[in-house]
């Protein structure tokens, strides 16, 4: 991928997506414009029905827009067919899902290797890169564990390693802490913050303000358009939990 280093990683112009539901046409997205620069940490928020899932599917190249322009890492991807989209997903996007979506019968290492299998890498290089990615999420000692032998937080870290292993342009996380307790959520947010510090572009879809608070930019969607787009000072990961413990301690001492 030869792209000027200064160019934005995502450029979206006039993005629309319509669904035909019976005789009616639902306009899930009604013209979204958005530019995301390299190494940004963006949270996309919005109530259900705001079009945030639709937007995420388009950004993730799982779907194509009805109208509008989408340039990902210098390539126009709005009109690609299935197999080309698959290639773009493989090279440019690292997905992190709410439910982790690991293959249950495969080990952590095999799960992380999977995108490289579809990328056409040889076995030796796959193994090496997957091992590195798992070490990067502090799971170097869990390579041969299957998902059911790992905790929720560990599973999500395997999923993050799987997203990282192809060195994608963006990490696209869909409610990454939705299935985790608050303590593990903080752990994952801490990992995201570290990846961001290392230069990774992260886009996170969430409906939890606590989680969105960790991003440096929050985009609000409502009724298929961007309602607000503001920058913020991110809350450092871990403080929330410390704060909660302090509050509990205070409540206990009062009682």
């Amino acid at each position: 991928m030869s792209t000027a280093p200064g160019a934005p990683v995502i450029q979206v112009r006039g993005l629309e997506k319509h669904y035909d539901v019976g005789a009616e046409t639902v306009r899930a997205l009604r013209g979204v414009d958005l530019v995301i620069e390299r190494n940004e940490y963006v949270a996309i928020m919005g109530p259900s029905g705001s079009g945030k899932s639709t937007f995420m599917n388009l950004i993730g190249c799982l779907d194509t827009p009805t109208a509008g322009e989408y340039v990902l890492n210098g390539h126009s991807v709005a009109a690609l067919d299935d197999d080309h989209l698959a290639r773009v997903r493989n090279r440019e996007i690292g997905f992190v899902f709410q439910t982790f979506n690991l293959l249950p019968r495969s080990t952590a290492l095999e799960n992380v290797e999977l995108p490289l299998v579809y990328g056409g890498l040889g076995k030796k290089e796959r193994r090496q890169r997957a091992t590195e990615a798992l070490k990067a999420v502090d799971l170097g000692d869990r390579l041969d564990h299957r998902p059911n032998q790992l905790s929720g937080g560990q599973r999500q870290r395997v999923a993050i390693a799987r997203a990282l292993v192809t060195r994608p342009s963006i990490i696209l996380a869909d409610e990454p802490t939705g299935n985790l307790d608050s303590r593990t959520s903080e752990e994952i947010m801490g990992l995201f913050a570290r990846l961001h510090d290392e230069g990774q572009t992260i886009i996170m879809v969430t409906h939890e303000p606590d989680i969105a608070a960790h991003a440096e930019r929050v985009v609000m969607l409502r009724d298929g358009v961007i309602e607000s787009d503001r920058r913020q000072v991110p809350v450092p990961a871990g403080t929330e939990w410390i704060g909660a413990r302090a509050a509990t301690a205070a409540a206990l001492s009062e009682g």
Binding site: D82, A86, R89, N101, R105, V117
Partner: protein, 413 residues
């Protein structure tokens, strides 16, 4: 995604779900089992008929003239009546042929009867085959003698009452006792034992050693068989290439002997061991044609079952397919994965079928006189069919999987 990897994944899937996998491929297993068992037994029969049976009963490279054909087959009454009107072959015909045949070889004649054979010790064999033959008969049948000697041309010519006993007859008349030089009674006539034959073995589980051979013109002539009537005139040539030459020469000479006009039907039959095998060839050809049909039915049923289970598997693993697609799997990757999985599953069924088929063939051989012979071709065919059924059955489910929308697939539970 390379194929080896897909096979490894498929094998892991099978291991994780052994029982279901087994029932899925039951159709393949049954089909291939049938195929292997039937082909193995058929091949064994074929080899047996051609190498053993034909050799033992008719001799190799031997052309035989008979009044009616020995070859089996379905013949109507009219033909049977026509056969009965044919003139019988005479010893004189055999001698006439021997003088005129140009093709090198050995000529012999014989007739057969059934009679009790007894000895002085009061032991007897009830229904022994009594063969009256020329001295050359021993050379035609490749009979080996365990003891003694065959009768000579002179003994045959003069009709000396000497006899060579088959293995079974010796065993029953002279158990543990020397038989050479002893006297046996054949249909009341005393014969001196001069030789004992090697054991011939069995044909279809029936012993072929319950017989004796004596000079044609000895006292049994006219009592065991019609006087001077030769049932068979056999001519053995030194090489297989001479068999057709000998056949046409025999045919031509016999037509002259019987004064047949050109165009008239021959009133005798000229046969070789190969032509006697004609009936067997008809049966085996029928089985070979019917077999693919039988196997085909179970494989088609097997394919339908595999297809259904694969469809279930695809819908159970919709989420997995979504995940794979999100990670960059193209349609082709998913298609190949499921087709390979199906082929591996069914191929494993084929392997089981080959094992069971060979086992079944071994079992058939153990409990029946049917022989078996493993043919490498049938094993390759069985494995190929197993894999092929899986490939065919996997196409539609794999196509369904490949064209799943990743968004819908990821959302499924």
């Amino acid at each position: 995604m390379d194929i080896r990897e897909a096979v490894v994944i498929a094998l892991a899937m099978i291991r994780a779900n052994k029982l279901r996998a087994f029932f899925t491929v039951l159709g393949t297993v049954v089909g291939v089992t049938f195929l292997i068992a039937v082909i193995t037994v058929l091949k064994g029969m074929d080899a047996y008929m051609k190498e053993d049976f034909a050799g033992k009963m008719f001799g190799y490279n031997t052309v035989t003239v008979r009044r009616v054909p020995q070859e089996g087959g379905f013949n109507d009454d009219a033909r049977r009546r026509a056969w009965r009107r044919r003139p019988r072959l005479q010893v004189a015909d055999a001698e006439w042929l021997r003088e005129r045949l140009q093709t090198p070889g050995t000529l012999a004649y014989n007739s057969n009867g059934v009679a009790p054979v007894g000895n002085a010790a009061g032991k007897s064999v009830k229904n022994a085959w009594i063969v009256g033959s020329s001295a050359s008969f021993f050379r035609i049948r490749d009979y080996e003698l365990a003891e003694g000697r065959p009768f000579s041309e002179q003994e045959a010519e003069r009709g000396v009452p000497v006899v060579v006993l088959g293995h079974d007859v010796v065993r029953r008349l002279f158990p543990g006792v020397r038989s050479l030089g002893k006297t046996v009674r054949i249909g009341g006539y005393p014969y001196r034992v001069i030789g004992v034959l090697e054991k011939q073995g069995t044909v279809f589980g029936q012993s072929v050693d319950n017989f004796v051979v004596a000079p044609f013109r000895s006292p049994i002539n006219g009592s065991m068989y019609r006087y001077d009537v030769a049932e068979e005139i056999s001519f053995k040539v030194p090489g297989q290439n001479l068999v057709p030459v000998a056949m046409s020469e025999m045919e031509g000479l016999m037509r002259i002997r019987h004064r047949l006009r050109p165009g008239a039907e021959s009133d005798f039959a000229v046969e070789t061991s190969e032509s006697v095998l004609g009936f067997w060839n008809k049966i085996s050809r029928f089985l070979i044609i019917a077999l693919p049909f039988l196997v085909g039915v179970s494989l088609v049923v097997g394919a339908v079952v595999i297809m259904n289970i694969m469809l279930v598997s695809v819908s159970e693993r919709t989420r997995e397919i979504g995940v794979r697609k999100s990670l960059g799997a193209r349609r082709r990757d998913i298609l190949v994965q499921f087709i390979i999985e199906s082929a591996t599953l069914s191929g494993a069924g084929g392997v089981i079928g080959i094992g069971l088929g060979l086992l079944l063939a071994a079992l058939v051989t153990a409990v029946s006189p049917l022989p078996a012979r493993v043919s490498p071709g049938s094993i390759v065919l069985g494995l190929g069919l197993g894999i092929g059924v899986g490939l065919a059955a996997g196409v539609y489910p794999a196509w369904r999987a490949a064209r799943l929308d990743p968004i819908v697939a990821l959302r499924s539970e």
